[in-house]
């Protein structure tokens, strides 16, 4: 069987789990949870990192020496200009040329600002970044981001950290249908069931932090999410049955009777 790998910006990925490094109760649990998740891509806020010496950073030092790809994000930016400045800082520090554009205007909802996100994506693509914008679950907007050169588009399931799950599965499904780049559901997932649902809708991957880091057992939850991604992906590939209004016997032995 062909291996179910996928690509972002020419880079081959095996895991479909992008995991955030923040919010863990301590470095030990953080390390173990990241290991259990099987994730290859780690994401974190650039403003939280000591860019002057990233290997000494209070978070990154704990994952040093392992073969992760970093997806730094511009969280905290409220305009495209700010996000662009932060992205340039991250690249200059040698962290990564992948960038998750995250621009929120409202500190209570942290919902992405779609216009500024599009603007920042356009600028950063021109500057040669591999851009993964975090955005609202609007199908037209997601298409526009793809056309602007986004390497993957990351619509939110629900506001960051809420754990509300996929508020608009219809939109996520449409976004996947229209897309020619990977769609990654980012933010708002709460449980393994949400993850399975996302994967069954056909998204290429999911990005999570809070539902793992704030679980009672983050290591156990990281494993559960990894399995949910695999189950959902396999279910999507294997094709679910059509829904029927009435029962149909599953034993169906009459078809084997000799006529």
């Amino acid at each position: 069987m062909k291996k179910d790998t996928w690509h972002i910006g020419g880079h081959e990925l095996h895991s479909r789990f992008f995991i955030g490094t923040g919010l863990f109760p301590n470095p030990y649990v953080q390390k173990e949870a990241i290991r259990a998740s099987g994730a290859e891509v780690l994401t974190f806020a650039i403003r939280r990192v000591n860019l002057a010496s990233t290997e000494d950073d209070s978070i990154l030092q704990h994952v040093e020496g392992e073969a992760f790809r970093y997806l730094p994000n511009t969280s905290g930016a409220s305009t495209a200009d700010e996000a662009v400045r932060i992205a340039r800082l991250a690249r200059a520090s040698g962290l990564s040329d992948w960038i998750k554009v995250e621009i929120s205007a409202n500190e209570r909802t942290l919902l992405p600002d779609p216009l500024e996100t599009l603007k920042a994506t356009e600028i950063l693509v021109k500057e040669g970044f591999t851009v993964l914008p975090y955005t609202s679950d609007d199908p037209v907007l997601c298409k526009r981001l793809e056309e602007a050169g986004a390497a993957a588009v990351m619509p939110g399931a629900a506001p960051i950290g809420t754990g509300l799950g996929i508020l608009n599965p219809y939109h996520i499904g449409l976004i996947v249908e229209e897309a020619k780049v990977p769609i990654i559901v980012d933010a708002g997932l709460g449980s393994a069931a949400d993850v399975v649902q996302a994967m069954e809708l056909g998204v290429a991957g999911v990005l999570m932090n809070t539902p793992v880091a704030k679980a009672k057992d983050p290591v156990g939850m990281a494993m559960a999410m990894k399995l949910a991604i695999e189950a959902g992906r396999l279910s999507y590939l294997s094709g679910r049955i059509a829904k029927k209004r009435y029962a149909s016997a599953s034993s169906g032995h009459e078809q084997f009777l000799l006529k």
Binding site: I46, R47, N50, A52, A77, S104, E107, V219
Partner: protein, 370 residues
């Protein structure tokens, strides 16, 4: 009639519980395998900062810390007056500094919920900020000023607490080498390495990073991990830093004895308390970004302690489900000093038959067992 409570562990949590139980008319028997206050307690920087330590939201842990800070002035006065010993306690307030404009949003979000929960914090920037903290790097864009936070000098506090315990009649047994819980279901008996047995009505487990050793005996999961925290201190002639200064990389705090303490470099190293060059260099790399004058200075003192952290970051605090004879108070991570009064109160309230607030269920020791 008071009860006899056998306490395992003479760190700040064990000592605080002993003090509170003793002054409520119980008899505390404190058992310590080495010497009291010898681990994380004496290594702590003594920050009483529930707002700065909880940046995400008002969860149960935040409420516990805030309640403890509220109890502190009365607690401090009691310990000072009973022990007859002074220890530094400073209502300095804190600054949480930010280097990026992008941090503003996070600081504003924090202010929003913290002001609803008792903080009188404000955002400071420019001249207003530098007037408050003159030597702060001009690279700092803004800071969240939280006046409600304090700090104390942990080694003196722990010593005063121990002295207060002795004066109020706590029985101390130190240097026991090792302890084993021989009975806990119908009666409590703890046996020391030399064969001595200590009996009582209740068992209180305050063994911090070592609590995991009791998993098998007590039949519950106790996921407490030691996290090494390395700290260094500089000699400072005048008080160069006026507040507790936090950044996302660590903290700085000036003490009355003319030292400037910088912490903490955390790593996972089992029970090893060796100070490493790398760990201290990490502190020196960021702290000069907060206070440029530190670039020229070398710390005169470096040390490390083991912070007992649990799987979900909350302490194990309360009775066992199977038997209220055993109470746990362990896994306070880097907040043991802050949480000492509220932990002592919760433990003593439980023993006195006072119903604990519902919020305490978040800390139930049995929550990891399934």
């Amino acid at each position: 009639m008071g009860e006899t409570v056998v306490i395992m562990g003479g760190g700040v949590i064990g000592l605080s519980c002993a003090f509170e139980l003793q002054r409520r008319g119980h008899q505390a028997i404190l058992l310590e395998i080495n010497r009291c206050g010898g681990q994380a307690s004496g290594a702590a920087a003594g920050m009483l900062a529930p707002f700065s330590e909880n940046v995400e939201g008002p969860d149960a842990f935040f409420h516990l810390g805030k309640e403890s800070l509220r109890l502190y002035p009365g607690w401090r006065d009691a310990i000072r007056s009973i022990s007859g010993r002074y220890f530094e306690y400073s209502d300095s307030g804190s600054l949480y500094i930010a280097y990026h404009e992008a941090d503003r949003l996070a600081l504003e979000g924090r202010l929003l919920w913290q002001r609803e929960h008792g903080s009188s914090g404000v955002l400071l920037e420019g001249d207003e900020l530098f007037r408050k903290e003159p030597l702060l790097s001009r690279q700092v864009k803004a800071a969240l000023y939280t006046p409600a936070e304090s700090h104390l000098y942990a080694p003196d506090y722990v010593e005063a607490l121990e002295h207060a315990c002795r004066l109020t009649g706590v029985h101390f047994h130190e240097q026991l080498g090792g302890l084993e819980v021989a009975e806990w279901r119908d009666a409590v008996v703890v046996q020391a390495k030399d064969g001595r047995r200590f009996g009582g009505d209740r068992l209180l487990v305050c063994t911090g990073a070592w609590a995991q050793e009791l998993e098998e005996t007590l039949g519950i999961r106790i996921p407490v991990y030691p996290i090494r925290g390395q700290i260094c201190a500089y000699e400072a002639e005048i008080n160069p830093v006026h507040h507790m200064v936090f950044s996302n990389q660590g903290y700085l705090v000036s003490k009355e004895n003319g030292t400037l303490v910088c912490g903490a470099s955390e790593d996972v190293a089992g029970f090893d308390t060796t100070v490493t060059e790398r760990g201290i260099e990490r502190l020196r790399n960021w702290n000069k970004q907060a206070f440029p004058f530190l670039a020229e200075q070398t710390p005169f003192h470096r040390w490390a302690g083991l912070r007992p952290s649990t799987q979900d970051g909350y302490p194990l605090l309360g009775p066992l489900e199977e038997s209220g004879r055993v109470i746990m108070a362990a896994g306070h991570y880097r907040n043991g000093i802050l949480l000492s009064p509220v932990t002592a109160k919760a433990v003593a309230d439980y023993i006195d038959g006072i119903k604990l607030p519902e919020m305490m269920e978040a800390f139930a020791p049995g929550r990891f067992t399934y």
